[in-house]
Symmetry: C2
Subunit: 321 residues, 2 copies
């Protein structure tokens, strides 16, 4: 990387981002990118992947890493009912990083952005000891903006796909098995379709129990999740057998959407999701009471799960002890 230099890299970014969008007036390579402002409402989010914390370089190809950096952000925009519009990519990299790795990461971001109708508008490359990829995403909202707040008692809770695949893959990797990590799913098209039916929506990044908890706290309601109804990824079921569902609701990084909607809206929502090839699984319901998530076991007993899912600093603390 030290052979290319920061400015050389930016020139490469210019070539790659190219004229991907009609909105782009000035692309990467100037002080800032310039784009014709979209109409309506813009959505802003940022998320960083840090080597050794969020990924290991030997687990993911550079392109898969770039895709991941883009999609974890796109997932946040999808959870508001919006679509990606423009991407900024800030990379920290050690000087020893092969240029091909950097190129792969940028390609992964640029291709996915293009496929989503968004443009890679700019980037920055800074020297650091560890590789880190910070993506800032500008999205445009659909007609309906869906928040975490808004879930009502009586709503059903549904997810857009099976859970636990990433958790199971990480578990296998940590046990030394070279399984492929699943890609983050692209849910922005379906998120926009679900938005008109949704009282509240969130993406499942920290694990279903924890993210349902965020939704409950924002909405001032409780939730009950039926373990038997949770769609579990095949790889997770194979790896964990009878414990699969319990593992899947605590595992993070599935990036499916969790949506709260009126029972009688389910049919139409399901039809809308299916138009994008996405199934909708009812996993529980919104209940009155404290903003807590309870798990209903297949035998009918109910338990409040202990803290689970991701919180980077708490995890760090737990593992440091």
């Amino acid at each position: 990387l030290s052979d290319v230099g920061e400015h050389g890299w930016i020139r490469g970014l210019v070539r790659r981002a190219g004229k991907a969008s009609g909105a782009l007036i000035v692309g990467p390579g100037d002080d800032a990118a310039a784009l014709r402002a979209p109409r309506g409402t813009v959505l802003l989010t940022t998320d960083t992947l840090v080597e050794g914390v969020h990924f290991r370089r030997e687990w993911l190809s550079p392109r898969a890493l770039g895709r991941r950096a883009f999609r974890v952000n796109a997932s946040d925009v999808a959870a508001m009912g919006g679509r990606p519009w423009a991407v900024l990519l800030a990379i920290e990299a050690p000087a020893s990083l092969p240029v091909a790795t950097l190129d792969g990461i940028v390609d992964g971001v640029a291709r996915d952005a293009r496929a989503a109708g968004a443009v890679l508008a700019g980037g920055n490359l800074a020297r650091a000891e560890r590789l880190a990829i910070a993506v800032a995403l500008v999205g445009v909202a659909g007609r309906t903006i869906v928040r975490r707040a808004g879930a009502c008692v009586g709503d059903v809770l549904a997810v857009t796909g099976p859970l636990g695949a990433m958790g199971a893959a990480v578990r296998a990797r940590l046990a030394g098995r070279a399984v492929r990590l699943p890609d983050v799913p692209c849910r922005w098209a379906v998120g926009e379709r679900l938005a008109p039916f949704a009282h509240a929506m969130i993406d499942v990044s920290d694990g279903l129990v924890q993210d349902a908890g965020h939704l409950c706290r924002a909405s001032g309601v409780g939730a009950e999740i039926d373990l038997a109804a949770v769609p579990v990824a095949a790889a997770c079921r194979r790896a964990l057998g009878a414990d699969a569902a319990r593992f899947a609701v605590g595992a993070g990084e599935d990036y499916e959407l969790l949506v709260a909607l009126r029972p009688r809206a389910v049919r139409a929502a399901r039809r809308a999701a299916l138009r994008h090839g996405v199934g909708l699984s009812i996993v529980g319901r919104v209940v009155p009471g404290a903003p807590r998530v309870r798990l209903r076991n297949p035998d009918g007993t109910v338990a409040v799960p202990s803290r689970s899912g991701f919180d980077h600093f708490r995890r760090w603390r737990a593992s440091a002890r």
Copy 2:
């Protein structure tokens, strides 16, 4: 920091960012922030400060560090003739970082953003070994968008303030003297005023010689800079005496604007800048020929300076040898 956790931090961000802007529909704390789209043209830029590379924690207060992270980005938007509009803040931090440090950084960003009429729309906190602050800035362009390309032979080159203060301060710090590092100046208001007069503009982040070189390459012209005409910061002059001007044109991180404009526009441009209390110093001219920067010495001799200014990866390489 491990006592607060990521989600606790985000709750703090919500409190701090508050309802700073009329455009804000959904603030930090949801999956993404939502803002009413501005009219016209948006500007996008991102820049990261990495501990040990761009700053040392003992050299800057947390609040000064936050200001710096915001302003280096705001400077890029200013160089296009625009103003800050919305900010995303992605922090990587070790678990041992005191919460007060994090709070100070966020305060520094939030206050400066508010003062600039922008809103801190969202953020992300990730665990890492080193502190790093990635800011993504959305700006709105003024009536005229100014690029690096566009400088014409015959244009004069002018800067909005004295150079070398940061370079001299870093030099003193490296020599063990506890001098205060200067803040990055706020040039967005003056940048917008200068835009109608400017053929090309860039902010001086890598050093005058190198940034003038970027402007030359983008515009396909050469440039000549008069060393005797370069405004040198008082601290730099005190520290470097006769070498001050030569040091100042190679030192980075002054974040003044370098603008190319027709000689007969100088008077009006100067008046416009002075309305914001900013002087405009003519430091050279655009000349025909290869896109190279030549330095005219006070004795009339002309030299092409060797590569100078910042390029993080090349610098790393040079120092690693």
